[in-house]
Symmetry: C2
Subunit: 157 residues, 2 copies
C-alpha cells in the first residue's frame, strides 16, 4: 500500500518524504479533513511535522492531481484523495459539517451545462447539496419540538 503512494509521488515527479507519506496516510483514512486535523493526525506518525509543511505537502499533492481541495462555505478548506478519475460532488450537513460523496450527476444529467453561459468558457461545474445528515435529523426531532417542514419540502436549486 505504501508502495502505491511512493509510486504515485514519483510518477508525479515529487520526492518521497516522510511528511508526504504521513499526510497521504491521513487522507487515506479520513475522507474529508481540514489542514489542522491532518497536521494533528499526521503527528502521531511523524511527530515533528509542522503546520506549514502540511500546507506545502497539500499544495504539491493538489498540483499533481493526487488530492483535491474543497471549500464549503462557512468553514475551513477540506482535502480528499482523488482516487482514479471518479469526479464526484458533496452533500454537506448544515448542523455538524459531515460530508458525504455523491456520484457525479453528469451522464444521467447533462443539464449541468448552463443554458446561458454569458460568454464564459466553462470547464467545471461544482455542485454542493446542503441539508441535514441522518444523525442530525434524529437529534433535531428529539430535542426541538417545532416542525422541520422547510427541510423536507424538497430541493431549492
Amino acid at each position: 500500500m505504501e508502495t502505491t503512494w511512493e509510486k504515485q509521488l514519483r510518477t508525479a515527479g515529487l520526492r518521497v518524504t516522510r511528511p508526504r507519506l504521513s499526510v497521504l496516510g491521513v487522507l487515506a483514512e479520513h475522507p474529508h479533513v481540514d489542514a489542522d486535523t491532518i497536521a494533528t493526525a499526521a503527528r502521531t506518525v511523524h511527530p515533528s511535522i509542522s503546520p506549514q509543511a502540511v500546507y506545502g505537502v497539500l499544495k504539491a499533492l493538489i498540483g499533481s492531481g493526487i488530492a483535491r481541495r474543497i471549500e464549503p462555505a462557512g468553514g475551513p478548506a477540506l482535502y480528499e484523495l482523488r482516487v482514479g478519475d471518479n469526479h464526484h460532488h458533496h452533500l454537506v450537513c448544515r448542523e455538524c459539517g459531515l460530508i458525504a460523496d455523491v456520484d457525479c450527476v453528469v451522464g444521467q444529467a447533462p443539464c449541468l451545462q448552463p443554458s446561458d453561459a454569458a460568454g464564459f468558457a466553462v470547464d467545471e461545474a461544482e455542485v454542493v447539496f446542503w441539508g441535514l445528515c441522518a444523525g442530525c435529523q434524529v437529534a433535531r426531532r428529539t430535542h426541538v419540538h417545532g416542525t422541520n417542514s422547510a427541510i423536507e419540502e424538497g430541493v431549492t436549486a
Copy 2:
C-alpha cells in the same frame, strides 16, 4: 426607489438607518461585492460607516432574506441583493474573479436531486460553474501561445 428599501427594511422588522440604506445602495449598483468594497463604496455616501457596521448590516439583511451571501472558493465572501424569488447560480471566472448570474437550472433540470442522498435531508443545491470570462479568454489568446484545449473540451461535472 429609496422608499422601496425603507419598506423592505420595515417589513422585515428592521429599523431604517443610514448605514443600512447606504449598503443597500451599493448592493443595488454592484451585483456581487465583497464586504470591503461595500464599506469603501458606502463611505462615499456615509463617510463614518465602520467595517464592522457593514458586517452587521449584511448579517441583518441576510437574516431577513433581503440579501444573499455567496462564498466562492479562494476568495472573500460576496453579497448580492435577492430581488424577488429568482434563485440563481453563478459563473465564476478563474482568472479575474468576475461573476455572472445563471438562471436556476431546476425546472428544465430536476436532476439536481442527488441520486443517492445517503440519508441526508437535502434542502438546497448550490451550483458554481468555473471557467474563463469572455475578456480573459481574449487576454489569454493574446499573451500566451499555448493551447487552451482543456478549457474548450467541455464541462467536467
